[in-house]
Structures are given as structure tokens and as C-alpha cells.
Subunit: 160 residues, 2 copies
């Protein structure tokens, strides 16, 4: 079945929120979705959005999305793309929608003069890891992701 990719538009906000919740469910983090419809409008559909989304459709029906923003490499002196989310509804998997979404993001990267697309994958998500490796993506295994958040961030920022 042919998959088409298009940029997400304002009327897609409820759909995106639903996809985001479904992705969190799949990633065993159902309770971590705090985003509201207003948040989606104020970020993805701001006047000058700093985050963007693509929608995959099969037979005119949305079946998945990709969300991305522009990161930056000081070594390259240029922006790249960071793929924040990639999701395809369970019943639509295996028909190429994930591949088409990732290719859509790769095409944005090339069109914008970026040389890299980065993302993270959960270490137990072997189907996704196999898929990414088949495309030529490589695990950046010497780099460890760290995060300072919530109260620890507030406390640290508040110290003199």
C-alpha cells in the first residue's frame, strides 16, 4: 500500500497528541505524557516553530508521525536534525510507513544542508535497532546521554 508523507498542519494537533500517547504506551511510559493540545499548538504550530512533524498516510488515513528539530554540531559548524519521535500505529506496521517517515526526515536534512540525523532508541527495542542498522545508522557507543531535570535542575540553577 502506498505511503505518502506530508508536513503536519494545525488541524493535526489532536491526532499528534493521540500518537504521542500511543508511543509513550509502547515505550512503557504511559504516565509520562503531560503534553496538552495547547502545548502542541504553542510549539509545533507556533509562528516560528522550533520543532516540526511529518505525518504518514496510507490510503488517505494517517497512520504515524515523526517529530524533529534542528540540533547543532560545533565541530561541523552547522545544524543537523534530531529525530525526537517516530511512531507508526501497530495495525499499520510492516507496510513501509516507518521507513517512509524516516526517509522524509532524511530528505529534510539534505534539503537544509544537514549532514547528520541523530536520535535515541530504547535498548530493549531490538526491532527498531535492527531497522536502524539496516539503513546504515550507527550506535554512537562512546557517548552516554545525561540529564538534569525537575527539582535537581531548579535547585542547581538557584544556587549562587
Amino acid at each position: 500500500m502506498t505511503v505518502t508523507i506530508r508536513p503536519a498542519e494545525r488541524p493535526d494537533a489532536p491526532l499528534l497528541l493521540d500518537f504521542i500517547q500511543q508511543l509513550a504506551d509502547y515505550e512503557k511510559a504511559s504516565d509520562q505524557v503531560e503534553a496538552t493540545l495547547a502545548d502542541i499548538h504553542q510549539t509545533l504550530f507556533a509562528d516560528r516553530p522550533q520543532v516540526h512533524a511529518l505525518i504518514a498516510e496510507q490510503a488517505g488515513k494517517p497512520v504515524g508521525f515523526a517529530a524533529y528539530f534542528f540540533n547543532y554540531s560545533t565541530w561541523l559548524g552547522r545544524h543537523g536534525i534530531y529525530l525526537e519521535d517516530l511512531f507508526v500505529e501497530p495495525q499499520a506496521r510492516g507496510a513501509g510507513a516507518g521507513l517512509a517517515l524516516l526517509r522524509g526526515v532524511a530528505r529534510v536534512a539534505i534539503a537544509k544542508g544537514c549532514r547528520r540525523v541523530d536520535w535515541q532508541v530504547l535498548d530493549w527495542n531490538q526491532p527498531a535497532i535492527d531497522f536502524y542498522r539496516s539503513l546504515g545508522a550507527r550506535h554512537q557507543e562512546t557517548w552516554l546521554p545525561y540529564r538534569l531535570e525537575g527539582e535537581a535542575l531548579e535547585r542547581f540553577a538557584g544556587e549562587s
Copy 2:
């Protein structure tokens, strides 16, 4: 010695490029710096820059920098900060410049309504890891960073 933090400005471009090269040297990637002075001007000092830098000074002399951009969490529906680089010149280390830079970035995060600061550290850089952990930062150990770049990216984007 008192450390002061200020936003980087256009005349800092050569200094930033020098710091970027020094950081790559430290990270055993000297040959990976492709950024030029023109690149720095066109990105960090664009009309609407999507990447930013702070400079640390001791006794009026620049000793280090932090570069950051805004990332995004679909689960939170809001932007966070990604710390791309944090560097202090070897002879200035141990006097609090790194701490002051990271705190400067944390304060930007709080001021902008962000709840997270993310970054990556090289797995062999134990002094940095110890420093980050002491602040309450946590290794996001279930997440693996992946990258598609260069010819593999171009090939993938070009396929139909």
C-alpha cells in the same frame, strides 16, 4: 577567583572557534573540526540564531564556553535545553568555571520554562561524569544514541 558568565557576542567568534578546536583535541577528535569562522557567524550569530553560547571569564579573561540549543520533548509538549559543548581551558580548570557555565545554562533553562537540560559525555571522561553526577544529573542508561550521516544519509534520502 571570581568567574563571570556572559552571552557570547559576534566579536567572540574567533575565540569560540579556538575553544571548539581545543575541545576536539581533548576529546581525541582533532581532525573532526570542519567549522570555519564563517560557519560560526552564520549559525551562532545569525539574525535568529538556533544555537547559543555563553562565555566564562576569570579576571576579565575568557577561559571557557558552553554552546546550547533548544530541544523538544513530545511527552512534555515543551522545549528543553541540549548542552552541545562545555569547555574550560586546561590552565583554568578547578576554579569553578565549568560549574558556573553549567549553572548559566541551567538558569537559561529555568528562565525559558524548560524542565530539562540534556547532554552527552564520553564514556572514558570519568572526571566529567563524576562532576555531572555530583549535581544530580542522571545517566539515561536505557537510551542509546544512533546517527545516520554522510554518504549513508545521502544514499538513504535519495532512494525512492
